[in-house]
Structure formats: C-alpha cells, structure tokens
Symmetry: C2
C-alpha cells in the first residue's frame, strides 16, 4: 500500500517538474543576457536546424535564454516598400531564438505603422530614430545611407548589452536561418559569403587549405576589408573593448571604416563561417523601387475603403 502511495507521489512530482519546465519556457519573454560558456560551439542537429522549427514545435526545447543573445540592427527609412520589407524580415527573425531586433529609422518621428508592425511580431525589440545629418542629406552624389542608424544601434548596444553578438541586417536582404545559428557564437568578428553582390555574384573571404587567404569582391578600391555590410558579425564584448569603434559617413567605405575602427583587428583574425565559406547563407537582394502612389480622386472615392488604404500608402 505504502509502495503504491510512494510510486504515485513520485509520478506526481515528476509530472509537476515537467509542467514546471513548460511554464518556464512559456514565460521566457524577458530578455536574458548571459555569457556564452567558453568553448560553447554552434550545436547542430534537431534543436537548431530549420526543420525543427516547423509547425509542430516541440515544447521541451532548451530554454532559449541559455543561448547567447543576438542583436540584429536594421536601418530603415520611409518608402513605398518599407512595410513589406520589414514584414518579410520579421518572419525570418520570428524563427530565430533569443533575438533582439533594433530597428532604427532615418526619420525625425517614429512611423506608427512601423511601431505597430514591431508590436505585432511579438519579437523583443527597440524602435529608435537616427536621421541622417543635414550636412550629408544636402550633399550631391551617393549618400552615406544607414550610417546614422547603425551608429545609433551601436550606441544602444554599448549602453544595454554585455554579451552576445550583433549583426547589421538591412531590411531588403535575405537570410537563411542557419546564418543566425552560426553567428551567435562569434568570439571576435565572423565572416561569410554574401550572394548577389556585384558582377561576381558573391562577395566572400577566400579560403585556401582551410585558412583565410584574401577577399573575393567585385569592388576592392583599396579597402583593407572589401566586404559587404551583411557579410560579418561582431561579438558584443569585442566591441565594448573598443570604445572608439564607429561607422564613418563615407559612401562605399562604411564596412571598411567600421572594421578598421575595431583595431587591433586584422583580416587573419576573422572567424570563417558557412562551412569554411562554401555556402551562401545571406543574399544582397534588392527590391525594385516604386514611385510614390498617385493621389486618390476623393470626389469619386470619398466614401469608400480606398480612403483608408491611401493612408497606408507612401
């Protein structure tokens, strides 16, 4: 009899622990900043690959707050394609664990449609403003787009993050989920190929006999680091040890300037990802620009749904 009671009690206790674990994973909405353990390597297999994040997500996954936090900095600006681009990128990020999305608008006021979109995703996020300085806005020729935004993102990271990794992810690019699994464990600066760059079709570190041996990029222009903005990720601690690191307002030299400002840091220090740079996990997709939409004939359509639609359009 006592045996039965004992067994029952054990089973109840065990079940209680299970449901408790479930409750914990349910409530892990807060953002935990934890140091990755030394030697902690990207884990392959069922927990992290894309197929495990399908419709039937198992409940008893590793709590995501054990993963190093991933900060994704996305510069954006108002244009007809903006909401579409952010929507699409948000879907990718919604499949990534322990990610914090820093969206920085090149604007003086926050776009409420962007704020609503961010809220709807359920992602942990920060919505910031960083207008391009007048000085550059008035200049003729190519403009240093997204520099204010990215530097504002870096400032936020210096003020709020202690560990983890950050990545500059433009809203029109395309990211394989595997990319986030890999960059999360960056110790200093990791690099990897970016597809759809220049006439070569790809920009990548060159790897010979398993070691870094230069850069392959259609536009070198004397750059020490001829890479694309989407081609590298940086450890937060590495940045914090370099208080002067910043992106310069110099069109075409933003990446190079920023990476050089991370000194001491040499091309030989790069961590090579994407199976020694043999896979493409990110593409520099560019969206065709649309002209602002034509005005609505209010005399004709004043009491229709089109009035509300027009308020959304740029």
């Amino acid at each position: 009899m006592y045996l039965i009671i004992f067994i029952s009690a054990s089973v109840i206790l065990y079940q209680y622990q299970l449901s408790n674990a479930w409750l914990i994973s349910q409530n892990s909405q807060e953002f935990h900043v934890l140091s990755p353990k030394t030697g902690d390597k990207p884990r392959s297999g069922s927990l992290f690959n894309a197929s495990s994040i399908s419709n039937t997500t198992p409940c008893f996954q590793e709590p995501e707050d054990l993963l190093p936090p991933l900060y994704v900095i996305t510069p954006t600006y108002r244009r007809p394609e903006q909401l579409a681009e952010l929507t699409r990128l948000s879907h990718t990020l919604m499949l990534v664990k322990n990610v914090f999305w820093i969206v920085v608008e090149d604007a003086t006021n926050k776009n409420h449609l962007v704020a609503e979109l961010l809220k709807k995703t359920g992602l942990k996020h920060e919505h910031l403003l960083a207008p391009m300085p007048e000085l550059y806005r008035k200049k003729k020729g190519p403009k240093p787009r997204g520099v204010s935004n990215r530097n504002r993102g870096l400032q936020w990271i210096r003020q709020n993050a202690k560990t983890g990794v950050f990545y500059f992810a433009d809203d029109d690019n395309t990211y394989d989920l595997q990319l986030f699994t890999e960059i999360r464990y960056t110790k200093r600066v990791s690099m990897f190929p970016v597809g759809l760059i220049t006439k070569l079709g790809v920009s990548s570190p060159i790897v010979r006999n398993g070691r870094f041996s230069g850069f392959y990029d259609g536009w070198v222009a004397g750059r020490k680091f001829p890479v694309d903005m989407a081609g590298f990720a940086v450890a937060v601690e590495f940045l914090l040890q370099r208080p002067k690191a910043l992106m310069p307002f110099r069109p075409g030299f933003e990446e190079d300037g920023f990476l050089k400002s991370l000194e001491p840091f040499e091309p030989q220090d790069i961590e090579l990802l994407a199976s020694n740079c043999t896979k493409i996990l990110v593409w520099h997709t560019q969206t065709k620009k649309n002209e602002p939409s034509q005005p609505l004939d209010l005399a004709k359509y004043n009491s229709t749904n089109l009035v509300m639609l027009k308020q959304i359009l740029v």
Copy 2:
C-alpha cells in the same frame, strides 16, 4: 488512506491526459484533409495572430489538423535570385499552420538546390515541373510567365485535394501572416487589396457602404476582374465543381481569364477580406534582376572555397 490513493490516481490520470494531448500535437506532421465545419469563421485573438507565434509558442494550441488545409501554389524559375526568394517565402510559410506548399518549376529537370531547400524547411510540400510550352517560349514580346506552373498546381489540387483553399503566391511577393489566417476560410472566392501595384500603389475591390462596388486598378483593359494574381484565393470545393477552370496563356489576362473560367461566378459573389479591404496584407514586391555571375578565374582560385560557391551561383 484510500482517499489519498484516489486523489493520487486522479492527478496521474489528469497529467497523463495533458501529456497525451501534447504528444498528439507533436505528431501532427501528416497532412489531414478535413472539411471546415459550416459556419466556421476566422477566429481572431491569441491563437491565430502573429504575436502568438513568437519564440515562446504555447504547447496546448488547437491541433492544426482541425484547420482547413491551405494550398499555396508558387511558380518559380531558375535565376540568380531564385534561392533567396524561395528561402524568404519559406520563412513566412513556416509560421502558417496546416499549409501545403506546391512549388512548380518552369524547367525540364528539378533543381536539386530547390529540392534541398524545400526539405530543409520541414514544410509539407510537393515539388513539380511545368516548363512553358515551346510555342510561347519562342514568341516575341511579353510571355505568359507562370501559367504552365499554376495550371500544373491546379491539376495537382484536382487530383489530391478535397477541401480547403488554394492561393497563387509568387516567390517575390510579401505576405502578412494575417492573410493566411483570413483566406483559409474562403467559401468560394475571396479578394483583398494588393500593395505596390501600378502607379496607384494598390489594386483592390472598391467597398462602399460595406458592399462590393467595383475594382480599383491602374490597368483595367476591359477586364471583368481587374485584379492581381496575389489578390484572390479560391475554395478547393468551388474549383472541383468547375472542371473546366484553367488559366489562359494570355499575358496580362491570366487572372481575368482564370476567374472568368470559374463561371458561374460574378464580381458580386466575392468575399471581401482584410477588414472590408481597408488593410494591405500582401505586397507585389519585385526584386531587382541580377545578371548571371561572371565566370571564376579557375587558374587563380582552383583550390579555394570559391569553386564550391560558384556551383551554387547562376
């Protein structure tokens, strides 16, 4: 004493039921084709909105096989942007429940990179081929792109589906998750606004006093249904009752021709979605075309990672 045993037993039974429910939802990978109950309406709130599909997915959601199946037909063809576009769309679909992705290549052989991508997503899918007939391929001027593919998708649906809804989703468009929640309950043909179409910036049914009263589209051209391919969804049963419905090989008139082939069906029969067509839940985003990548200098790079990267590039 017996009371304690009884309580213990009850608790165990209850816990067993809970974990059983969990196991069922775990194993729902198979595709269940169930009739939606009559009067089954889109349910709003926590189960279906985007924020509930965040990183902390609750375990005890409604089993997805109770939802009407959603068939997404995506025509695609080989080009530098193809893998990126399909990757991005797959992330959106990975957040949709009980979805079946029918990817149809305009090609004579299946691209193994597309097959690998499909497998990696974990989505229920079908990978089909439907090359454009020579007759149209040789013709000068605009070509009926994607028509073979979509008709092949329709053929698959006639052969394999009994209930649910299908939707033509091009790989470069952008879809809000809310769109899939809404179209899933289409009884005949549902329609909704599509952003980034023509100079008007949007194509949409016009709604006046809560009722359909025409179409707003920058290119009417005598079409009975001046709508975009991404602007409507059709119930499978409705299609099955129209054995002759097909898309014509007529550039610019694909949508109109297909919708007219669904007769008996009049514009007044349209089900209006997206809050009476006041919201934009899908955008006709177009990706900037890239030239095929330049050849690799094999004398210079023959023993590097670039050889493997070049095999992926178009």
